[in-house]
């Protein structure tokens, strides 16, 4: 489903953010990407739907080469859902309209159809009664659930999560993770950048550990948590975040 092959990215000639990253996500798989801040994990996931350009290598998404100039990027992106650290709901639109806009403008759905779909998804994330509100009236956790529903409204073939819980107050993290766990168990293909090791342990198939722009570890979940991770850097990272 997602194939990342030898991806290199430089911010400037002297600063390389991604170094020869190669990995893949197959259909129905849940892959968690972790690593210290600045390790390039957010950059990598943003390369998957070409929100970030990269200079070397290639990424193939459902058979389509992302970094081919001939690729219709808007069309490709519309098939992959993305959830951001800071939610990025559209503050000038009501919740329900946040869910309808791209359905209508990109997929060409009729307003009634889009709205019905939106309401169904809002019900699923438990926010149906907030449909007429504006994003600023909702808590962070609620906004992030709306953002997930907004991405799902496009019927994506895969979902990308870029640190979906990092900007949330601790008591709101679980409500977002619950939605993500459900999604994973339903068989959604997911690539998730997160520090939530509990989530990784629960639903991930594989865990990727990145450091300084490199994929240091790419292992089955059981190997990553159960056995000892092979690299020193991954061990150090894990001991730091699992300590508390």
């Amino acid at each position: 489903m997602i194939e990342i092959k030898h991806v290199n990215k430089w911010y400037s000639p002297s600063f390389q953010v991604l170094k020869d990253c190669t990995t893949s996500v197959t259909k129905g798989e849940v892959v968690v990407v972790c690593g210290p801040s600045g390790s390039g994990k957010s950059t990598l996931i943003k390369c998957v739907n070409a929100l970030e350009p990269f200079q070397g290598g290639e990424i193939i998404l459902d058979g389509v080469k992302v970094n081919d100039p001939k690729t219709d990027l808007p069309k490709l992106r519309s098939r992959v859902g993305m959830v951001f650290q800071h939610f990025e709901l559209f503050p000038h639109l009501r919740i329900v309209d946040n869910l309808c806009l791209a359905q209508e403008k990109v997929l060409g759905r009729k307003h009634d159809e889009a709205q019905a779909k939106g309401m169904k998804l809002l019900e699923r994330v438990g926010l149906k009664e907030h449909a007429r509100k504006f994003p600023a009236e909702l808590s962070g956790g609620q906004q992030q659930r709306v953002a997930i529903a907004r991405a799902l409204a496009m019927d994506p073939i895969a979902m990308l999560f870029d640190e979906p819980t990092s900007a949330l107050d601790p008591e709101m993290i679980s409500e977002v993770l619950d939605v993500m766990v459900d999604l994973a168990r339903e068989g959604m293909t997911m690539m998730v950048v997160t520090h939530e090791m509990g989530f990784a342990n629960k639903v991930a198939d594989r865990v990727i550990f990145m450091d300084r722009g490199e994929i240091v570890e790419d292992a089955k979940k059981t190997d990553f948590f159960g056995g000892t991770p092979r690299s020193d850097r991954a061990q150090k990272f894990l001991s730091k975040i699992l300590q508390h």
């Binding site: 808007p74 800071h86 990025e88 559209f90 791209a102 990109v106 997929l107």
Partner: protein
């Protein structure tokens, strides 16, 4: 001293002053503000487009317009447009452009330079995550601008845009150089006809002052309301 003033001249001239003069002033203000906003937004988009040459052309235009006195632009434009039109259409003689059309085009061009800077600031005030989220949903650049970025930029900048429009309302009085009967032009005509310069110019000042003040008051109230919503 006030006894020698004849304020009745104002009362008699009221229909002419407002139905013709003020109507012209308000029409010109509204059309120039609208046109200036449309072209200003396009110029702002050019400057932010990332295409070096497009941005440079827009930048030169804005700098050029902002470095010239408005009254000079109005004056020159009025005399130049017929010849530019002749050159463009290949007509044998200078085309006739009415004073209204000429002044409207001038104001739109001039205001576009100012509105573009306001809209540029407005667009830059939107966090990069917003267009990124729009792109991630599959919206094209044009759709993302139209449905996500520009509505927010416009709303954030509305108080500044309206304040600029109040300045524009006052600036439209400069069309007097073309002898157009806008509000000030109408007042000045009556003043000279009846020899009541002090009364008429005093009255004109009071009217401009009152309208601008009231408008500014509403802009401030609007600003406070928007500040709460955000």
């Amino acid at each position: 001293m006030l006894g020698s003033f004849d304020f009745d001249v104002i009362r008699r001239a009221l229909p002419y002053l407002f139905l013709e003069g003020m109507r012209f002033t308000l029409t010109l203000t509204a059309l120039a503000a609208f046109g200036g906003l449309v072209f200003g937004t396009l110029i702002a988009l050019m400057r932010l487009s990332g295409y070096k040459w497009l941005g440079r052309i827009a930048g030169v235009y804005v700098d050029f317009m902002r470095s010239l006195p408005l009254v000079l632009v109005i004056f020159w434009f009025y005399f130049l447009v017929p010849y530019i039109g002749q050159w463009l259409t290949g007509a044998s003689r200078p085309i006739t452009v009415g004073a209204f059309a000429s002044s409207l085009i001038t104001f739109i061009m001039f205001e576009a330079a100012y509105f573009s800077e306001i809209m540029r600031a407005g667009i830059q005030s939107i966090s990069k995550g917003q267009p990124a989220a729009a792109s991630a949903l599959g919206l094209t650049y044009a759709q993302s601008m139209r449905y996500i970025v520009l509505p927010q930029a416009f709303r954030n900048m509305l108080p500044v845009l309206l304040t600029q429009t109040i300045v524009l309302f006052q600036d439209t009085s400069l069309v007097y150089v073309l002898s157009i009967p806008d509000f000030l032009g109408a007042a000045s005509k009556v003043a000279q006809r009846d020899g009541r310069l002090v009364e008429m110019y005093l009255f004109a000042a009071v009217v401009y002052f009152t309208i601008s003040c009231v408008a500014s008051f509403f802009v401030r109230r609007l600003q406070a309301r928007i500040a709460i919503v955000r």
